[in-house]
Structures are given as structure tokens and as C-alpha cells.
Assembly symmetry: C2
Homo-oligomer: 265 residues x 2
Amino acid sequence: MPEVICSKDNKKIKDVVKLINFSKYRTKKGLFVIDGLRICLDAVKSNVDICEFIYTSKSRVKNEDAFKEISILANSQYEVSEDIMKYLSSTVNPQGFICVCKMLDNNINIDKINNRGKFIGLENVQDPSNVGAIIRTAEALGIDGIIASLDCCDIYNPKVIRTSMGAIFRIPILYCNDMILEIEKMKRLNFNVYASVPNCRALSIKDISFNNSSFVLIGNEGNGLSIEVIKSSHHKINIPMFGKADSLSASMAAGIIMWEMVNSK
Amino acid sequence: MPEVICSKDNKKIKDVVKLINFSKYRTKKGLFVIDGLRICLDAVKSNVDICEFIYTSKSRVKNEDAFKEISILANSQYEVSEDIMKYLSSTVNPQGFICVCKMLDNNINIDKINNRGKFIGLENVQDPSNVGAIIRTAEALGIDGIIASLDCCDIYNPKVIRTSMGAIFRIPILYCNDMILEIEKMKRLNFNVYASVPNCRALSIKDISFNNSSFVLIGNEGNGLSIEVIKSSHHKINIPMFGKADSLSASMAAGIIMWEMVNSK
């Protein structure tokens, strides 16, 4: 019988809490935490490196097949009490499965892009729900990769992972220090670079033929893209709107742009 | 000097808490609560009937013009302590402006639709963020109205209102007891009725010309549309996807469908 962890003061538990809450600690350790039955199974399917598997006795019995599947791949595993699971989980009704995983090796190698593909760039997108929704939508629609500035919300933020529904395991994502530099690289690779702006005098996305070398940039929820990024891009583009609302949400705007990128003729 | 309310036991405060938390109480009273500077000003601009205006002394001084604007239109007003504002507000940093409003008179009168328009129907959409995002997007894209089944999340849920960014004040919404009945009415008005389904053998939304008498139905986040609604519709439609994700989120799928409804040729 494995030992059951019942104390919040347990070193392992304290460490998991730090990984959940602190982006810098995640980066330092090269680890992140996923929470829930489905996302843990998604990680298994996507060959994510699972370091630690944390479960409750109840969840083990209830989901025996899933337990076995995750258990085989995990480097180590810990049974915890229901109270500890509630303490660790960010959901109201924890499913009793948490994994500590090694950060993904899904960086886009821009040098290998080879002039082809449809990519989006995120500059300073802050809300974890937006970043998660954009990742989920990008993957579902078949976008080839995401280039995100370092001031975007961390993709290993638990809320990003949850909202992405496991899509972070499957789509290439590059974090970059300097978006202008990446834009220049993409331009040298003959990509058409588009800056999305809330300006109805910009090109309507309906009138653009996004060819198979397209890179579209999306900016911060409140302030949009920086002037530098807009200036570095080839074109300013806009989603035509008719209502009185200021705008679509950042993730909805990104979703509609990606839909047009993938489907425009 | 107006009296400053400092106690959670105050009858007025207790009543506002009930309005925030209980859909049935909202319906019984015909009232709902909005929270935040921008949404309160939105309500003023949209001629929403403001019954009570609740503010703190700090917010009144900080936003004098907004205070006056709301104050003039409110039937009555109450200054509350910072602690009470924090108690009432669902945000971490309350902006110090809350209004109790009369429910909107923005019902779609189907008998007056007169065969024209682009409408969406929501059946059993549960998540308040999804309902709010769909309302926001529908208004921004210029959809003519929303018909929602009574088992959808209440549009006066504080999270729906917040996510809709005030769009609930501006777009006609009809709650209906019986969606099948509404579908039959729309059909008699010569609307084309489409059921969106996660089935790639259904018609692709890319191949449909949504004319100016289109009604598209969107279903529950987990289970989709009911068989009855699908059967009552003229066509089954689908968003073609390429990724490995199960699907787009309900609000993103709705957003892309509405985008195509408004822009298809």
C-alpha cells in the first residue's frame, strides 16, 4: 500500500502548490501542473512527459482504466486524501487526478518553417481565458503555430491549460523576447505579415486572400498591438462590425480572423 | 447628507444580494443588478430603467461626471461603505458603482419579424460566460436577435451581463418555453432553419448562402442540440475543423457561425 499524503505541510504538496501558483517557479523547474481526468488522459495521448501523478483512492477506484493508463507512464505517483485534493484543485468538484508534467518541447523553429504555413502572433495578451481560447481555436481550425511575446500570459497558467482543452499539447508555440525580430524573420521567409487593428479604415479581413504564408498579429485586450508591431507589419487588417459594441473580445476576434485565414480563397 | 449604509443586515443590501444570487427572485421582482462604471454608463446610454443607484463616497468623487449622469436617472440612490461595496461586488477591485435595473423590454416579437433577418437560437446553453460572449458577439456582428430556450442560463446572471459588455441592453432577446414552437413559427415566416451539429457529414457552413431569412440553432456545451430541435430544422450544418481537439467552445462556434451568417454571399 502506498503512503497516503494527508498534510498540507508535506514537502511534495507544497511544491505542487508553488508550481500551480507561480509562473517563475514553473519556468525554473521546467514543470507545470494539469488538473482533471480528461486533461491527464490528453497528456498521455500527446506523449507529454508525466513526472508525478497525484490521485485520491476514490478517483482510482472510479476510473480504473484511466488510472492504469496514467500510472504506467508517470515517473512517480502519490495518493492523497480528499482534503488535499480539494486543496490542490482549482475546480469546485475535483476529479481526483492531477499530474506534474515536464514543459513541452513544442517550440516552433522559425528557421525550419520553410516559407509555408499560417501562423498567429500574440502580443501582450493578458487574460488566461483568452490565451487558452485562442490556443484551443487555433488547434481546432488547423493553424500551424503560435508565436507569443514573453509579456503574454504564461501558457502553463492552470487557467490557460484548462481553457485550451489540451490543445497546448498539440500546437507548436514559440515564446519570443522580441516580436519585432520574429516579424523580420517571417518577412525574410516571404510571409505576409498582418496587424489586426480596431480601425475600420484598415483592410477588411473579408477582402484578403490569406495565402499559405500568412502571419497575423493580435494585440492586448485593452490597448491592441504596439505601434512598433503595427509599423513592422505589411498590412493593417480589421474585422468589419455593425453593432454598437466597442469590439469583439480578443479571443473571439482572434477566432474569426483564424477562421478567415484558414478559409479565405 | 445622505445616510451611508454600513451594515450587511440592512434590508436594502439584503435585497440586492438576493437579486444578484437568485434568478427566480430576479424574475419575481422584474429586476436585475449591474456592477461597474462602464456597464452603468452603458445602461444610461441604452435607456435602461435604473431603480436604485448604489455607490461609495470614493467612487462618487473619483467619477463625478458619471455619478451625475447615473444619479439624474436613478429613482433612488444609496451611499454605502467600502466594505459593503466589496461585499456586494463580484469583482476583486469594485469600481464602486452598482445599479438595480428594471428588466429589459427587448423581447423579439416574432409576429412582427416580417420574414426578414438573421437570428440565432440557443437551446440549453448553460455556461454564463458562453451566453454572455454569444450575446456580445451577436450584437457586434449585427445579428438581429436571439431566441433562447428557458433552460439556457439566465441573461440577467451577473456573469452573463459582465461578459456581454452591455450588449444585452441593445440586442433583442426572446426567452421561449418551447423551442420547437418557435422553430415552427419561423418556418411559417419562410425562414431557413439550420441546426448546428458536430458532424462533419452535415453541410459545411462554408458552402451555405445564409440569406436574409436565416435562423441558426446552437445547442448545449456538452450534448449539443436536442434530437427534436435537429429534426424540426431544415438543415444540419457543421464547422469544418482540422485539429485533434474535440471541438471549438460553444461561444467560439457560435461566433464563427454568426460571422458566416452575416458575411456569406
